[in-house]
């Protein structure tokens, strides 16, 4: 059951969120329109097409705040190493934080199974043909996580650098993961997703030399495309640069009240 909205998923067929549309019992006053069938009328709406998602995102933000959870939305192209990065994070910080993951994938639950091996709870969202996660899907995933207390919630978005950029999930930090194998001009090709990134993780720096990666140019492009972002160079495989990523997570969790985790 969906308690949040009239979501259109087949298993939640009670589309009740437009109940107000039935409240116009005065409709018979408009009889005169039948005399002017050809007349065009303009009806002003001025509404965001993302309004519904944004409403759910605000609910999620409140939920996270109330529970003292730092939520992160990790977006990247496929193969940038999001899952490997999360595996390392879950392994290295497991004595420090209570962590959980929500994983969006088009078809398989391979990533969620990989992450569950760390012992942290992981909820899979199989999106089918949908190319991004939205705030409402997150609400259902949070129901599945139940009352497990969580300090750090990592939301691994569907591998895609276009569609997820419009969908606020209610996260505190939007993290773009990119890797040296993707070339230096990724930020210029996908300006929308980089522009409002809080953190950019440049992954796989251990093989930068082997793939002829132009580091200075890449950093310049990321800086230009994501002016507000903290940029960290890491390797999920070797662990290089990860301490700075962990420090960033510590900084953001410390900023909240009531941190009650103990090793």
């Amino acid at each position: 059951m969906c308690d949040h909205c009239g979501c259109s998923a087949p298993k939640h067929s009670h589309a009740h969120d437009h109940a107000h549309a039935h409240g116009h019992g005065h409709g018979h006053a408009h009889d005169h329109h039948h005399d002017h069938d050809e007349e065009h009328r303009t009806i002003a709406l001025h509404q965001s097409l993302m309004a519904r998602n944004d409403r759910h995102a605000e609910q999620n933000r409140g939920y996270f705040k109330g529970r003292g959870t730092l939520a992160l939305n990790l977006v990247s192209s496929p193969g940038s190493g999001k899952t490997a990065l999360l595996e390392a994070t879950l392994r290295d910080l497991k004595n420090e934080f209570r962590m959980a993951t929500i994983v969006g994938d088009l078809a398989t639950d391979n990533d969620a199974r990989r992450l569950r091996a760390s012992g942290a709870p992981s909820v899979q969202i199989t999106t089918g043909t949908v190319c991004h996660l939205d705030a409402h899907m997150i609400q259902h995933a949070l129901e599945d996580l139940g009352n497990t207390p969580v300090d750090l919630l990592f939301i691994e978005n569907v591998g895609n650098l276009v569609c997820p950029s419009n969908f606020d999930l209610g996260e505190r930090l939007r993290v773009v993961v990119t890797s040296v194998t993707e070339g230096e001009d990724k930020p210029l090709k996908y300006p929308s997703i980089f522009q409002n990134a809080d953190v950019v993780l440049l992954n796989k720096v251990d093989i930068a030399e082997a793939v002829g990666f132009k580091r200075e140019l890449a950093l310049k492009n990321i800086r230009e495309a994501a002016p507000a972002a903290v940029i960290l160079e890491v390797s999920a495989r070797t662990g290089a640069g990860l301490p700075a990523w962990y420090d960033l997570l510590r900084d953001y969790t410390r900023a909240k009240p009531a941190a009650h985790h103990h090793a």
């Binding site: 437009h18 549309a21 116009h24 409709g27 408009h30 329109h33 069938d37 050809e38 007349e39 065009h40 009328r41 303009t42 009806i43 002003a44 709406l45 001025h46 509404q47 965001s48 097409l49 993302m50 519904r52 043909t129 949908v130 190319c131 991004h132 276009v162 569609c163 950029s165 419009n166 210029l188 300006p191 929308s192 997703i193 522009q195 409002n196 800086r223 230009e224 495309a225 002016p227 507000a228």
Partner: protein, 113 residues
């Protein structure tokens, strides 16, 4: 690909609104779409037309007003339109972290008959 979902939302709102106003047909839908919204106009139009078939919005036109990116430079206290998403203030070269417009996805109005 997400243009399809957005088109569904537009169509639903247009049809609901037309019905509330006792209109039989949706003729035109006006939208404002920011350059940073990540939406391809052609894909959106294609999806809308396909979805609107056999509904009172069949044949309705989408009129899309593009919204340019505008940034604010705190140092110069002024807004500017960055060339090709560079976010650098043309006067002082500082990088702007404040994008004030360009991410819009707005349904402005519909025309019904």
């Amino acid at each position: 690909m997400h243009e399809f979902g957005i088109a569904e939302g537009i169509l639903k709102t247009a049809l609901d609104t037309a019905a509330q106003h006792g209109a039989g047909k949706v003729e035109l839908v006006r939208l404002r779409i920011g350059a940073l919204a990540g939406v391809v106009d052609e894909a959106l139009t294609f999806a809308f037309e396909a979805l609107a078939e056999d509904t009172p919005a069949s044949g309705a036109r989408l009129e899309i007003e593009p919204v340019p990116v505008r940034c604010y430079c705190a140092r110069c206290d002024r807004e500017f339109e960055p060339p090709r998403f560079s976010y650098r203030c043309p006067a002082c070269q500082a990088l702007s972290t404040q994008v004030r417009s360009g991410r819009e996805l707005q349904l402005v109005s519909i025309e019904v008959s």
